[in-house]
């Protein structure tokens, strides 16, 4: 029983990490039709900015409120970089899919190279607040607090995103834009502002994943964002392009599947099963769990 609970909660922790990266990716793709391969860079920026702030930013630190401030700095850095990427590199290329892919792939490679050049290629120990190093006993299982923190953060982000989509003017524009971007424009709305906003939101969520992922893995390295991005893309496709709720369901499915198969099967079999799940979804329900709807 304890093993099942542990696997479930660590699987959900992994799912939370995937969701934080995938939610922004899904909104960006759903609204702006941009397949953003640079999204992993925002995670890297968030992780490194948090790591840097914990040691250098006045008031910030590796524990308690100091770490909260460091993580907030990381989230803001991720959002700002995402906005700049949209404004400078993506905006001139809307409706030019191939160029977008080339630019975002190039940017992700250049971003990793920049992080390596600045802080080296080796993983750096990440500041871990005292509480996150411990475990909490739940139904006989000793669950790492870092995983619980990830789950809590993902639930808060999911609730915040749904509230934003449901109750705000820009949320309304994004939901409509995911359905029919051209018609939003034909109602007199400058949809490009919404593009910038979803990039910022996606960048912030990915940066939060970077900060909390640093705690979860205990270290930060330049290539971390890229490896998580692959699973985030799978989550987006399974969940349905543009759907935050779909991304949440898919992240849970992928996280749990990976964790259970890796434990009960051979190591690495979980990844293969995830790809198999993707293939099954694409064959049986190509639009994903939720279809192209920015659910609110």
């Amino acid at each position: 029983m304890g093993t099942i609970v542990l696997l479930t909660l660590t699987g959900l922790g992994l799912a939370a990490l995937y969701f934080l990266v995938a939610s922004g990716l899904a909104l960006v793709f759903g609204l702006a039709d941009v397949l953003n391969f640079a999204h992993g860079l925002f995670l890297g920026v968030g992780a490194y900015a948090t790591w840097w702030a914990a040691g250098n930013l006045p008031g910030a630190g590796p524990d308690g409120l100091g770490f909260v401030l460091a993580a907030a700095f990381g989230v803001v850095a991720g959002a700002v970089v995402a906005m700049l990427v949209e404004l400078v590199m993506i905006r001139p290329l809307y409706s030019r899919t191939i160029e977008q892919v080339l630019v975002t792939v190039g940017l992700s490679l250049a971003g990793v190279a920049l992080l390596q050049a600045t802080w080296g290629a080796d993983p750096r120990p990440f500041p871990r607040p005292e509480w996150t190093r411990g475990v909490t006993e739940i139904l006989g299982a000793k669950v790492p607090n870092s995983g619980l923190l990830l789950i809590l953060a993902a639930v808060v982000v999911l609730g915040g995103l749904l509230a934003f989509l449901r109750w705000t003017r820009y949320g309304l524009i994004i939901r409509a834009g995911v359905e029919n971007r051209e018609m939003v424009t034909a109602l007199g709305i400058d949809v490009r502002k919404a593009f910038t906003l979803v990039f910022a939101i996606g960048g912030a969520a990915a940066a939060l994943a970077g900060a909390l992922g640093g705690i979860y893995f205990g270290s930060v390295s330049p290539g971390q964002g890229g490896s998580l991005l692959i699973f985030a893309f799978i989550v987006v496709v399974i969940g349905g392009m543009g759907s935050v709720v779909g991304a949440a369901y898919a992240a849970v499915a992928v996280g749990l599947l990976q964790q259970f198969v890796n434990y009960y099967g051979t190591s690495g079999a979980g990844d293969i099963c995830v790809v198999a799940l993707l293939a099954v979804v694409l064959l049986l329900r190509p639009q994903g769990i939720a279809g192209k709807v920015a659910t609110a």
Partner: protein, 243 residues
């Protein structure tokens, strides 16, 4: 005294994916009444409306002049044209299926102007009653009402309306025509319409397109009275009456 047109289209050419869809189209829209854009399927009626509104695909090429009053509309972003008073009711309604009726209307609100919900609900009381219903679950007629209501939430200088009666039941066609008649009393309309009964009821002027060019232009009555002309230009011999 010469009446200034509300819209002037001169030598408009549109090329999309190698197809020369519009080949030098020129016409004007009077500041009152309904100017109807007619022609057989595929002659470029919808392309004309979309070009006026700046909705030609990015890979398309638009040449020519489009002016609303003295102001050139070419190369202006669509959202700005709409904010400046160019209302658009697209073909196939294009309501946001996943949003409620109220959310569809709220989306059309413009900053700096008071939305005319009274006007919309007076014309379409059904929209008020169905405010919480998802637009995707409305009937075709109700969706058309929503698409028109969305535009009427704001004051416009010109309405571009694309086939508003397409696919609707005869009774609903009559209702839509009545609404457009009332709307046209206050704001000029450039209408694409295939139903000649509706055209006869609403149109003051007509522009007929054929193979990407203007084949005929003049008072709508003159066109509709000439059976031979309508047959040669539109492929119909008589005006069918639904209303």
């Amino acid at each position: 005294m010469t009446v200034e047109p509300v819209l002037t289209v001169e030598d408009l050419s549109v090329r999309i994916a190698g197809l020369h869809i519009l080949q030098g189209v020129s016409f004007t829209v009077a500041p009152t009444g309904v100017t109807v854009l007619l022609g057989r399927n595929g002659v470029g009626k919808t392309t004309t409306l979309r070009a006026v509104l700046g909705l030609t695909p990015t890979q398309g090429e638009v040449r020519g002049t489009v002016r609303m009053g003295a102001r050139s509309l070419v190369d202006q972003p669509t959202h700005r044209l709409v904010r400046d008073g160019l209302g658009y009711v697209p073909e196939d309604r294009c309501v946001f299926a996943g949003l409620t009726v109220t959310e569809n209307l709220r989306l059309a609100e413009r900053r700096g102007s008071v939305p005319a919900y009274d006007r919309v609900y007076e014309l379409f009381p059904e929209l008020d009653r169905r405010g919480r219903q998802r637009a995707g679950s409305l009937s075709g007629g109700q969706q058309q009402m929503l698409a028109i209501g969305r535009v009427l939430l704001n004051d416009n200088r010109l309405l571009l309306v694309d086939e508003p009666t397409k696919g609707l039941a005869p009774k609903v066609v009559t209702e839509v025509a009545e609404v457009l008649e009332r709307v046209a009393a206050a704001v000029p309309v450039l209408l694409v319409e295939q139903n000649l009964a509706v055209v006869r009821r609403l149109a003051t002027d007509a522009v007929v397109l054929a193979a990407g060019r203007v084949a005929w232009t003049g008072p709508a009555r003159d066109l509709l009275l000439e059976t031979a002309l309508t047959k040669s230009l539109l492929g119909v011999g008589s005006v069918e009456v639904h209303s």
